[in-house]
Amino acid sequence: MDEEALIRAAQAGDHDAFERLVRTYDQSVLRLAMNLLRSPEDAYDIYQEAFLRVYKNLQNFRFDCSFHTWLYRIVTNLCLDHMRKRKVRRTESTVVETGAGTVDLLDSVAEERAHGDPQRALLSRELKGKIEETLGGMTARERMVFEMRHYQGMRLRAIGEVLGTTEEAAKNCLFRATQKMRSALGAFV
């Protein structure tokens, strides 16, 4: 069944079709939310909220844009709201919340020391911290564009459609974000 048929079936109340639709996109939605919010619990919340909104509003989807664009608009808006509310923590950027409580991402690196090269582990620890810090220093839009282009492999035109902006504006965001990352990681390359 192609995507349009799947959407129409889901609109007609076919639960299996809705589930298949969710499973087509949910891994990349979860990864995007996880990358943007750096917290499994926040990513979980975004996942639930986004797909519940899709479920409740699917009847209103009129194929004016691709389903992917529509879904990503919902997800990115939720993430933007979340990031604005939380004002992305910049000072404790390696600390994330997990199901088992608050965890420092750098702790997992320490574990590698026992098995690998301590110097390499230390470098990796510093690098992770630097990446977190730089991502925290980007504006929400820069970060959004950077994540969607770098990790999700989306074209700038599609990113522009999702964020309700032009391809040119998305390009500028990507350029600024990459520049920040390049300057921050200069010592590591």
Binding site: H15, F18, E19, V22, R23, D26, Q27, L30, R31, M34, N35, R38, P40, A43, Y44, Y47, Q48, F51, L52, Y55, K56, V96, T98, G99, A100, V103, L105, H115, S124, L127, K128, I131, R149, H150, Y151, R155, L156, K171, L174, F175, T178, Q179, M181, R182, L185, G186, F188, V189
Partner: protein
């Protein structure tokens, strides 16, 4: 093209966002500019570092998201059917009626019961054959139609539920069919645990094994999934079972289930098991599950990471 434009376009080149002509112009500039060539290399290295340090989605998170979404969608669906739908009417007026309606409801149920008892012959051979205790009244599950006529009589069309009791061996096909249905009963995890616990003795049967695999893969209750794992222990070499075990090791949100699945998976130390465990180690947060995987890998003389 000057260096400033080239540096700007290098970013777009790295992401494949330049047109053929733009790329051509940039390549020409790079041929003659060592600075920009160095910048390109640097950019590629940064991209490499970022790829290596992308945060992992924790094991089990996707599965938890899917399960909970499914439950919330189901809840939303039954709620949105509204009180005008037959199900909504049933809940609102029969299961949880307003207080003022309760005495009336009780009287109506009595009347329906009385009417039913009058209409059904108590010595019906059909009932005896079905094993229905003849003195047990039926429960009215749903009134389909209430139709008064001019003479003051009312015609009521209703569905009824009868409790039946069936006793038999586990080999009995009817018992097995009921257990298979109970193993999927979404309302009662306790019944599912009991059913799976009984069914696991019949794991040689294909439909039973499929039910256990299905429970292991998708039941929302960890207790049910653990029971299914126990049942599948004797089939740890079966390719389909191994496929599901590998999936469970990497995606189940319960550390106990993941640990048990690892134990079954490593009973047969095929090469792909090492790959699954190495992948698990990359994303696993639970120390016990990590140490269990490391131990299994060292028993298999496999490295704990992929290089």
């Amino acid at each position: 093209m000057n260096c400033e434009t080239a540096k700007e376009q290098l970013v777009l080149l790295a992401y494949g966002e330049l047109t053929f002509d733009e790329e051509e112009l940039l390549e020409q500039h790079l041929d003659g500019c060592a600075d920009c060539r160095a910048d390109r290399v640097k950019l590629e290295r940064v991209a490499g570092l970022l790829a290596e340090n992308e945060p992992e989605v924790p094991a089990g998170l996707l599965l938890r998201c899917r399960r909970d979404l499914s439950e919330r969608v189901d809840a939303d669906r039954s709620e949105s059917r509204g009180w005008l739908s037959p199900g909504g009417l049933w809940r609102r007026w029969v299961i949880n009626p307003p207080l003022w309606l309760r005495p009336l409801g009780a009287a109506a149920m009595l009347a329906v019961g009385f009417l039913g008892a009058r209409l059904l012959p108590t010595d019906s051979p059909a009932l005896a054959r079905m094993g229905v205790p003849q003195d047990q009244p039926a429960l009215v599950s749903r009134v389909r139609l209430v139709n008064p006529d001019d003479s003051g009589r009312v015609r009521v069309l209703y569905d009824e539920i009868r409790q039946r009791e069936l006793t038999g061996d586990l080999d009995d096909a009817q018992i097995r069919r009921l257990l298979l249905a109970a193993a999927k009963d979404p309302a009662d995890p306790g019944i599912r645990v009991d059913s799976i616990n009984l069914l696991k003795q019949q794991c040689a049967n294909d439909s039973v094994r499929k039910a256990l695999l299905n429970a292991l893969r998708s039941d929302s209750n960890a207790g049910v999934r653990l029971k299914a794992l126990e049942g599948l222990a004797t089939f740890a070499c079966d390719p389909e079972t191994r496929k599901v075990l590998a999936q469970v090791v990497l995606t189940d949100d319960n550390p106990g289930v993941r640990t048990q699945a690892i134990d079954l998976l490593v009973q047969n130390k095929q090469p792909e098991v090492a790959g699954v465990l190495q992948e698990l180690l990359r994303r696993e947060e639970n120390n016990y599950v990590r140490s269990r995987s490391q131990k299994a890998l060292s028993e298999m003389k496999a490295s704990i990471g992929t290089f």
